[in-house]
């Protein structure tokens, strides 16, 4: 059997070394997930901690038929959503009042991966208002449908669609601005 499978079995037996090994195997990847849903590293680590406690608690439900990473990831996403709902700082009302044109970190819309690394992109997404941020992450990154998102967040399906569309447009606007800015900088340097 695979190492992951063995690791899960050892964790189920309560072996601390296996628990730590499992944590170390997925922690950095999962912190990346938590980071996208929160506004600060401290909050992301809180979610990560809470998520891993759940992972170990419900590990017996993992039947080993799928990808362990995907299973853990779903726990992290759910934990992050619940964290946002519980935490008043995030004001999870999904209403958008921010100025859509205010300056953020603009990047190129044509080829974002050429210009920015994953963290820079995540940082841009994190500047969306909490509701937009969550919906964008859930739909665009995790691949949840709007029906599922509406169930998870307790909002109407139509709201999820419209908020996603607005979040996407907003991101594209920012990326276009960054593209212009980058071009000007390059031109000035040359």
């Amino acid at each position: 059997m695979t190492t992951e499978h063995q690791l899960v079995q050892d964790c189920l037996k309560g072996k601390p070394s296996a628990q730590k090994a499992l944590y170390e195997l997925f922690a950095s990847r999962m912190l990346g997930v938590c980071y996208r849903y929160t506004k600060s590293m401290s909050d992301a680590e809180d979610v990560l901690q809470e998520g891993f406690v759940k992972v170990f608690h419900y590990l017996s439900q993992f039947r080993g038929e799928g990808d362990l990473g995907a299973w853990i990831r779903r726990i992290m996403v759910t934990t992050a959503i619940n964290y946002l709902k519980k935490n008043s700082r995030y004001q999870f009302d999904l209403s958008f009042s921010a100025d859509e044109n205010h300056f953020l970190h603009p990047v190129s819309p044509d080829d974002p991966e050429m210009m920015l690394d994953a963290k820079q992109l995540a940082d841009i997404v994190r500047q969306l208002p909490p509701g937009y941020q969550a919906i964008f992450n859930l739909h665009a990154i995790e691949g949840y449908t709007h029906v599922e998102i509406s169930s998870m967040l307790g909002i109407h399906e139509g709201t999820s669609r419209s908020q996603y569309a607005r979040a996407r447009n907003l991101l594209i606007t920012w990326l276009e601005k960054e593209s212009e800015s980058t071009k000007q900088t390059r031109y000035a340097r040359s």
Partner: protein, 491 residues
Amino acid sequence: MPGPEFDRTLQAKMQELQLEPSPAVWEGVEAQLHKRKRRRGVIWFFMLASLLTAGGITWYNQNSTSPVALNKTENKDSHPSTTERNNSTLLQKKINEVDLIKQDKNYRELDKTDLNNNTNSQHKSIADLDSKIINERKSNPDAAISQRDIDNLRANKNKSNRHPNAFSTTKQVELVLIEKDIKNSRVVTKKTITAEVGEKLSMEVDIPNDPNAYTRFSLHNHSKDFIIHEPRRDVGDNNLVVQNSLPKKKDESKKLSWNIDFGLGASSLQEGILQQYNAVANDYLAPASVPAGLAAIQRRPSAVTAAPAFKIGASLSRPLSKRTAVSVGLQYNYMSNKIEIGKPVDSVLTLYGQDQQRLDVGAAYNGAGNNGEAFYNRYHLLQMPLEFAWNFDRAERWWWNSGLTIGYLIGSDALLYNKQAGVYYRDNNALNKWQTGIHTSINYGLLRSDILKVAVGPFASYQLNSPEHTNSKKHLLMIGIGARIQFKAKN
């Protein structure tokens, strides 16, 4: 405006994000795990203590013959313990959040066979690749099949309540299969296929000569009703499979599974579920019509106390929904109770029963009660339990089972008491062979593996029929700790 390519690139990029957490996170996780372990230990301790206390009280009360003591037992038993209720509520609250995870219908199982056959590194890379593909597949706002179409299909499926795949066989969709070199962000091949939702398509694709080329396949319209099984390049397989991706779990959940049930405990003779049978009140103090000329000396009947009991059987269960199941099986029950009797006085004795019928019995014992000789009335029952199970926690660990049993008394050496003669005698013809009963149990899932599940918990079963034809007040009650080993249904 950037198209689907933008979304896919963004998605792929974001999924790469890895950040190193501070050491404090693991310390926090570790501390909470220890805390949970301690709490679990305390819960088990209290459950065991409550069980032992309840058992002790029952035994104590059963050893007392006074009707007053029996009433006390009844009062105690009639008040349910709040400890378990509180524990259950606490557990329920703690796992509410994970419910959302379970509602995740997006999750697609990976091909287990493929994964198991791989080496560790290959396993990981293929699993990662599949994960990426699955996620990528889900995000395309410009899909040929709109989300509304998919939702409508799903709504129709739910409405018709048919097999998950049955609804879709009438609709054809056109899928554009894209083979793409990820490294260079360019499309290598495009294939257009027409498929019915629910259909499994298999086709051969060219494997790039460059072993390092990182290509993958996706569906242009990103229909969520399809899943792609990539060719196994590492073993020279170039067979691409496009398959209906509706969850298989619905089918699996309906599969039958075998269980082995056993339990150990004590059984007693009851007047009601919570009231022990009072032999003195019923067989001695109650007025009995003694036929003329039969001035038999009445001796007090012995008190009936609890004695060991056990059950073992097998059953077949079938889930009705995610949280409910039914099962039917065959079970052997051994029940006993203890009385005190005197020495046998005759091998054949003629007695008169309650309704004056003449009884010729094979064995009789005088000096019933207080003679210090213990006798165990033993009952061997073959039962067919029909059971309904309900899972009442989100973690699917706690199950409440209840149901009916139909049983046949295949053997017994129980003694009956003749209240006119004041003697015990044996007459199996006076016993009710057919028995119906009710039973209930609460099971906690202790162990889950790929092959089996083990659950343990307290149980109680109560026979609705009296074991004797002539005395309808007697009922057998069995309580104890039971276990169920459930063997996982094979795919």
